[in-house]
Symmetry: C2
Subunit: 345 residues, 2 copies
DNA sequence: CACAGAGGGGAAGGCGCTTTCCTCCGTGCC
DNA sequence: GGCACGGAGGAAAGCGCCTTCCCCTCTGTG
């Protein structure tokens, strides 16, 4: 079979010559087409390709065909389970459609989203999915919006998983409603003195969750003072630090709401370090329902988001032909009450 | 500025015409070259490109240049923090070198590694990094080896993070030695009756860790019976199920070693579900030191692997010119003793 | 002032593939 | 037997870009 060693690069022409057919026939035999190829020729081409270890140049194909099968995924951080779950869902779905996924991470620097979308346009990606909170920065949003429009004008599709700030198909996470429902549930369990570990002040996701939680509490007559809302990083360390801050301020608190699970984890670590018993000394709630965190003790009360599904849905969205009006799919979180917020005695 | 709306596709020729220069000059102005372009022409080109929202076709560039700036990352599952940490490291490093990373996940089906490497060859990726345990399957390994050779022959670079089974640059994780050291440390803490949650029997990583642990125990005169080694999934649920199995068998065990942290987490959940106190009723140790899990209680004893660094190192490896002899970089894990395995009274 | 040489613009070839368009052959029908 | 028509192979025209090669112009030197 593989008698001949492949040279640096075997081209289709080599295969065609080896099979004694024309370039056109070789191409049709290997990649199919509307045209039919006589079986014996087809076989000869296939054999030649195999013997030469031919591998079509995807770049050249893309150029000749005028389109690629690339889908770009722009996320904040693969290391963060929130994003990696969504990514897993998107990648799984992409594979079902023979699409190649390329991932880019902003690592918290949102302005890079713009660069990445531009890069993806340059790659002539078929679609791009941008995952992550929009930020409270009009200039940034506008520039990203412009880049997105350029991308779409060159024939690509775009979907967001975040807030609806840019005119493109978006999977909107109902952060506000979810946090509101969570707050109400916690009030029902008897909590009254809340603190919020609010994460980055410029992140809309963080703001919405924070605001929603306050609304929910307010419905039960509980006002959360500004002093009980502590900002910081949107990650584990941010949760840890914010929790320490709350403790140091000496506020009278019986339950903290961290605007995401990873922060809640940090908060629990901080409480432990400070010798506060969980959950008796302090109740803790998060948001997202990160799979890896389902086994922490005490089990974390949170708002469940169907993370993997989000990725798959977004992919589905960009695969469907675009509509004149951007489509919006709202996803509601589901409050999951667990041991970290027991019913108050 | 952007008076004109970009058509479906603005080409370099459009830019050149708009700027009143030749294609060659436009190319040189935009991408730089050994040749210099007169400043006024350069500016005109840049302006035209901007006005037209020109975006170079990366495919065409790649074809003309004969190489891409793509790096492929083949991992098992982005959703698994072990892999996503490594991926984060690789992506970070890649960005420093203006490389685009595309990720592919096998989701536990190792034969797909072969397909992905083939796909990456087709993409003319500059390099590919394969992360994950080799499996005990000679046929599979050989086929992957052949594909890797093809990839290298077409000019690409390959690195593995796993066992040294294929002739390519490899970052070898000293699983055996790490597990051995862990076992010894646990013996020193007074444990004598171990069970091993061994994960998938065909995964070399699992096998090595399991074997290493038994060796370490043996050095302290502790033999681990075959009945105390339970196989299963290499993930959280696998750990859970295996732990249940150990309990159901009614073996006399005071410490379980799960061959990775995520499994250990599952095991802890199982113990809790069965009402076994942690760590007093059962000590638990894992392997990897997953960041997200550093905050579980009781804090998990494990073997720390510099996951993010692994990704960065692998990238560095594939960026350096290839040597005639595959390079091997051995990475030793560091035993981290925590509360989940207290000194036995 | 003449000429060599450097600097920089432009035409054109080529990267590997797909896809039209042309051509040839074989078949069926009048 | 002649002609129309369909089926299939092959030549060739791009796809968008980089880069070599050619040539013109401008500068510096003897």
């Amino acid at each position: 079979m593989n008698e001949r060693v492949a040279t640096a690069s075997v081209t289709l022409l080599d295969v065609a010559r080896a099979a004694g057919v024309s370039l056109a026939t070789a191409s049709r035999a290997l990649n199919g087409s509307t045209r039919r190829v006589r079986p014996d020729l087809r076989d000869r081409v296939l054999e030649a390709a195999d013997a030469l270890q031919y591998s079509a140049n995807a770049q050249a194909q893309a150029m000749a065909r005028g389109h690629t099968n690339l889908v770009g995924l722009v996320i904040s951080d693969v290391g963060d389970p929130y994003f990696s779950s969504i990514a897993a869902g998107a990648i799984r779905a992409a594979e079902d459609h023979q699409l190649v996924v390329t991932m880019a991470c902003t690592f918290g620097r949102e302005e890079r989203e713009i660069d990445y979308v531009a890069a993806l346009r340059s790659q002539r990606a078929r679609a791009v999915i941008v995952v992550g909170s929009r930020v409270h920065d009009r200039g940034l949003t506008d520039r990203l919006g412009a880049e997105v429009r350029s991308f779409e004008q060159s024939g690509g599709r775009v979907a967001f998983i975040s807030q609806r700030k840019i005119a493109a198909d978006t999977i909107v996470l109902e952060n506000r409603a979810g946090a509101r429902a969570l707050a109400e549930a916690l009030c029902c369990r008897g909590y009254r003195r809340f603190a919020i570990l609010a994460g980055r002040a410029d992140l809309l996701t963080a703001r919405d969750r924070s605001a929603g939680f306050r609304e929910g509490a307010a419905r039960h007559g509980v006002q959360i003072a500004q002093d009980d809302v502590v900002h910081g990083g949107f990650n584990r360390d941010g949760g840890y630090d914010a929790m320490i801050e709350v403790l140091d301020r000496g506020r009278d608190v019986d339950c903290v709401f961290a605007v995401n699970d990873v922060m809640a984890l940090g908060a629990m670590a901080a409480l432990r370090d400070r010798g506060v018993a969980l959950p008796s000394g302090m109740a803790v709630a998060g948001f997202d329902d990160i799979v890896t965190l389902r086994d922490v003790t005490p089990a974390l009360t949170t708002v469940r988001l169907p993370l993997e599904d989000l990725g798959a849905w977004a992919l589905q969205l960009v695969l469907e032909p675009s509509t004149d009006q951007p489509r919006i799919r709202r996803v509601r979180g589901e409050v999951v009450l667990r041991e970290s917020t027991p019913v108050r005695p």
